[in-house]
Each structure stands twice: as structure tokens, then as C-alpha cells.
Symmetry: C2
Subunit: 386 residues, 2 copies
Amino acid sequence: MTANPSLQKRETQSPILPASGRVKLDELADHLGLSKSTVSRALNGYSDISETTRKRVEVTARKMGYRPLSHAQAIRTGKVRAIAMVINSEEPDRHNPFLQDFLAGACEAASASDWTLAISTAKSEQDMLDVLGRLVEERKADGFILPRTEVDDARINYLRELKVPFILYGRTGYGHPDRPDDTSWFDISGETAIRKAVDRLVEFGHTCIGYVGSDPKFNYSHLRRDGYLEGLKAASLQVHPDLIREGARTREEGAVETRALLQLDAPPTAIVCATDLAALGCYAACAEFGLVIGHDVSVLGYDGIPESQYVSPGLTTFNVDSKRAGERLATLLIRQTRGEEPAKLRELSDAVLIERGSDGPPRLTSAALARQIKSFNNHNRGGNRL
Amino acid sequence: MTANPSLQKRETQSPILPASGRVKLDELADHLGLSKSTVSRALNGYSDISETTRKRVEVTARKMGYRPLSHAQAIRTGKVRAIAMVINSEEPDRHNPFLQDFLAGACEAASASDWTLAISTAKSEQDMLDVLGRLVEERKADGFILPRTEVDDARINYLRELKVPFILYGRTGYGHPDRPDDTSWFDISGETAIRKAVDRLVEFGHTCIGYVGSDPKFNYSHLRRDGYLEGLKAASLQVHPDLIREGARTREEGAVETRALLQLDAPPTAIVCATDLAALGCYAACAEFGLVIGHDVSVLGYDGIPESQYVSPGLTTFNVDSKRAGERLATLLIRQTRGEEPAKLRELSDAVLIERGSDGPPRLTSAALARQIKSFNNHNRGGNRL
DNA sequence: TGTATTGCCGAAACCGGTTTCGGAAACAAC
DNA sequence: GTTGTTTCCGAAACCGGTTTCGGCAATACA
């Protein structure tokens, strides 16, 4: 922190090259025989510059490789041409293999407009708000991408109050139609994917379909569960509360919920999971009961994590295009910082089904499955894991 | 791009609060009854400010919540108090579950010094250099973290020439002792980990140990293979070139190399892999030959990816602490931008062994293993997968 | 007591852009 | 031939800091 003021920094410039490495606005202006104010206005598309000089400026600017320093612009304009995202670093399911794809999408979109991406992490909900606050106070970014939106998201209220542009990766406010709805967002329609999963199972002939949901604090959890309910309704199947389990964020939690499902008097012959991680937990739990997936029990996941293709049998799941998500979020956010109406910057996309071997026609009825599970339990120490 | 100059932005300030939200240097100076130059010098630790006023300034600055705008400082100082990392987005093994941990470490270290982290992605080697060039030209960062260093790394020469501070995650220049060695780096000693793996297998009683290496363009590949060789040497085991396979970056490639190993006349009873991904490929290849891992063949990995604990049997591997890596890299880089000698900013750390079920004493001799593989092949259509 | 030195601070220039404002030239209207 | 209007551009202020330079007062030295 302590500087060294005694240090003289009189660098001897190279005597051959007159200018330093970078081309500055002054030099460009000199070269053009114009004032720097004119050049600046030309570059920024002001209407009081004639079309001919504007073109001339643009051409030689490109030719001389002039690029304005964004922080020099920022001091006057207040805009740093950067978007930021702050990631919660302490989530139980934080090992996201797609983060890199997401960042690639966001970076490419940002670069296309000559913007950059700043990223930060937070250790808790409070830390999250602190970090956001610091970032806006020091104007490190002109807008924020908010990943993993919650039903009741503190970040949203905070940034709304600060009047800082932001965009959600996901929707928010589930079940609160009165909540102000002026936010922009990009989301993948988990509800239609899960709905399709149920449709698919119904077509296979399943009539007893279980559901393992994720943490209800996240908005997507409710949407996906709704997709499940809709699927049942469309097939005129009755909703049985015991078949709906919530809160599985990790593989282990997925296993726990699956065990509960399988030990029901009428266990499901198929299980739809809100996440692939939960589905992998399903695999573990089914193995415990000697159940073979794709035959005794059908399982479907959602996310498309790499591991889903390496388990045996391969997991049928819905692929999410993280790179595109990053790309869309960044471009929409940039448009928003340029003044577009947030409520008009919304996009909903679909996950795509990847058919693998984890699902198929029911081999057993629910009753038969129950008997098999019971007899397996009796043969194996009769242990009740739950 | 086209601005709207006709737009008047004469915001009417709130009449109650005199100053805008942020506290500026002028206001702080007014409040203190000092000139802003004095306040600035006090805050930056100049020696021509008396200790008493410096303290006074610091205290009220904190009290008033003053934070300088880094881009306002940057315009004069040329330093933006940011580090950047550009990630290659098109690698075959890009799905790194630890990226988030790494970023968390780097962010925390940066935040601790009030720095920020910019990230960017590149699609090819040339794009990488272009992106780096843009970033330095626009001074988006004061220094760079270079992940995944290669033996012959174009980024290094490029940034060295530009005289921009950078730090390597990994070492470089393997086998080129003449190469200039003025870089700073942080690395995990893969060579000692692999060496330990071999030691461990030798202690188990293995005498025929194979090795599946990674892409030789990366520096770590050579180091890990050296660790393997050292281990053999220490145990007075002969090096057999056939037992050394290179170039496996993905799970599939790991399987390919393992098949080649297992079809040798004298197949290894244990296989050390340079990466967990290759080791998982080992699992697949062994399964094809009806070999049970941990008994018929021992397998060790390196990286500690989450999946390694969920395969059956669990993979014995070496855990890398990515968060700490990010943290160390960021702090070392910041120190370097403050003038410390790069060659003195180097740290080597160790991966930690996680013992699971994939290794143990050899159940079979190499010859017996060969016979078993051959008979298995004959019983299963005699197919030769290679 | 006079002078040189030191300690401490303020005025002003500066960084690289953007934006305001005013004015000259060209054009239109009378 | 004046008198407005436009059109287009330059001069200068400005953004929020940092750094240079000079000067005043207090101290040290002769």
C-alpha cells in the first residue's frame, strides 16, 4: 500500500518512434488536421459532424489502430463498458462444468461490442450484497448478470434500489404476481422440458411417476415441478403428494429422496429429476435396491452434465446450452445499459432432449416393483436405509 | 454505436442531499480543510505528509466511506488495479469443474487488495494473442494469469515483448534450459505426486507399472512422466517404452491408451494416469476386458475431480487445491505488478493423496493377467478393439 | 543574527478522453 | 443587400483523481 514517491520515473522514450505505443486521440486529430473534440464527436456519432468527415475520421482511426481507453472515457461518461457477474462460491452444488462455456458465451458477446467481463465471487448472501455494492460504488461495471435467481432474491431489490442495470439468468418471484415485474431475463424453460419428460414416460406406458425436485429457494424449482404437474394433468394422472420430493441439490440428496420414493407402498416406476445431479443420486439409490435403471425404473434428468453420458446406462436428459445463455445474457444486458426497456429484454429458450438408456417402458407395475424392493430388502439384511 | 446527442441529461439533483451518492476526493478534502492534493498524497503514503495529518485523513476517509474510482486513478497512473485471465474456450478437456473454485481464490485475493478480476476467452491460439493484445492495449489489466502453460508458450513471448507483467499457472520450457527464465509462477508438483503414486504401487508389490500421459504440448505432461520414471528408478525397475503412453486428454483417449497397454504381451498390473479423466478412461477399457479395478488392475489418477469419488471402485487420486492456486497466483501477480522481482515470485505446492479403492496389491502377475485378457478376448468374439 | 536546510502543504498542471458553447461560413428568406 | 438559419467545427471546460513544483514556516547551522 505504501507507495514509493522517491522513485523517479523519467523513462527515456525511444528516440526513433515519436509517439508512444498507443495512438491517442490528440495524435489522431493532429494526423487528420482536426481538433480532438471534432474527432471525438465524429467517433461517437454526433449529428453535428458532416458525414464526409465522420467517414474520414473513422477510416484513419481504424488505419492508425486507434482505440480509446475505456477508463479515460469512463471518467467523463461514467460508463466503463464492462459487465460483471458475481458468483456464489460456497454452494453445495457449485462444481459446474459449464461455467467455462457460459463465460465463453458472455465474453464473446461482450467483446463483440468492445466490452469486457469482470467476475467476482461471494461467500454468503450478505457478502454477495457487499460485493455488489462495492462494484457499483467503484463503478467497476455498467450492469450485472445475476445467475441462479431465487424466488425472493435480495440482489434484485438491492440493485433495483441502486438503479443499476441487471439481468437475470432465470426468472423470479414465483407465486408473487404482485411483485414488481420490470426485470429483464434470459431463461431456459425447465418447465417445458420436465413436462416433455413426463409426456415421454406416459407414452412409454408409465402411470406412476415420481419427481425429485431441487431447492425451493430457487425459482426454477417451482417451475420444473409445475412442468411435472402439468404433464400428469395432461395425461389425466392423479397427483400423489408422496410422489413429489423436493430439496435435492446434491447427488447424495438425490439418493436420499429416491430411497424415500422407492420405499413407498406404491413406488414410482419412473422418476423425473429436476437436475442431473439428483438423477445420479437416483442411480446410486436404485443400485442399493438391486434395481436396474432403464428396466426396473426409468430415470430422467435435466442439465446435460458430461457425467450423464458416462454412467451406465446413459442418462436420458435435457441439454442446456450454457454458452448460448451467456451470450444472450450479455447482449441483452448491454442493450439494456444503452437504454432499452428491461421488460422488453426477455428470452425463453428450450433445453434439448438427449435420449439415452435410462428410460423405457415399465417392466413392472408399481405393485410388482414394491414386492421386488421388499424382497430385496429382506434378502439383504432387511435394512431400511431411510 | 450511434449515440443520441440530442438527449439532454440535466438531472435535477435531490435538493436535500447536497453531494451525490459517492464521496469524492474534493468533498473529503473540503471536509478536512485540506487541499485535494494533500489528501491524495496522504492516502497514497507520500513521505512529505506529516504522520498526524496522514492519520487524520485516513480516519475520516474511512468514516466518510471514500473510495477512489480506479478508472479515475488509472488515467494518470496507468494502473487499473485489475488482473486478467484469458481462458481457451475450445479445449477438448475444457469442462473443468474447478474453474469456479479457482476464480473464487483469485477473486478473494484480488479483493483483499482492492483489485478486480477480468476474464476473457479465446477460441484459438491466434485469437488468444489477439485478445491479450487488445487487453493490454486498452489497459484492461495490469497483469495476467496464464493458465495451462505449454512447453513452448506463445503467450509468454508475446507478453514478455510487451513488457506486461504475467504469472504462469504451471511451469514452462521443459527441456530448454537455455530459454530465458525470468518468469514467476505457481504450480502443483505433479511430478512428486506421480512419483508417490509409483512408490505406492511398488510398495503394494507391483513390478510392471504402466503410465498414461497427457498431451506433450503441455509442460506438466513431461514433468509427470518424469515423476513416473523417477519412481521406477528409485525402485530399480526397468523402464519399458511400451508401458509409456502419451497424449490422452479425454476419457476416450485414456481408454484407447489403456487398451494398448492391456494388449501388450506383458501388460501392466498397475496403471498410473496423468489425469483423472484418463483414469476414468482406464475404467472403461478395463471393463471391456472384464478386469476388475483394484484387484486385477490397479489404477491411480491425478486432479481429484468430483467424479473420481463416485465411480466404482472410488479412484485413488491426488487432489489439487484449485482455490488456493487461484489465491496464490493472484497475490503473487499483484506483488509483481508492484515491482517485485518475477524470478523471486515462485511457489511449488503439493497435491494430496486421496486413498480409495482403485489400487492395491497385485492379484495376478503380468503373465497371468495377459492370459486372462487373452482368454476373455477369445470368449467374447475374440475381438481386438484396437 | 543571518542563512541554509528541512518539513509540510497548496496551486496548478496533467492524464485522455467527452461535452458544452460559441462562432464562422454557407445558405435561405425577405 | 440585409437578415435569420443551418451546418459544421474549434476552443475550452470538465470528469476525478495524481504528480510536479514552489513557497512558507520552523528548525539547524554558522
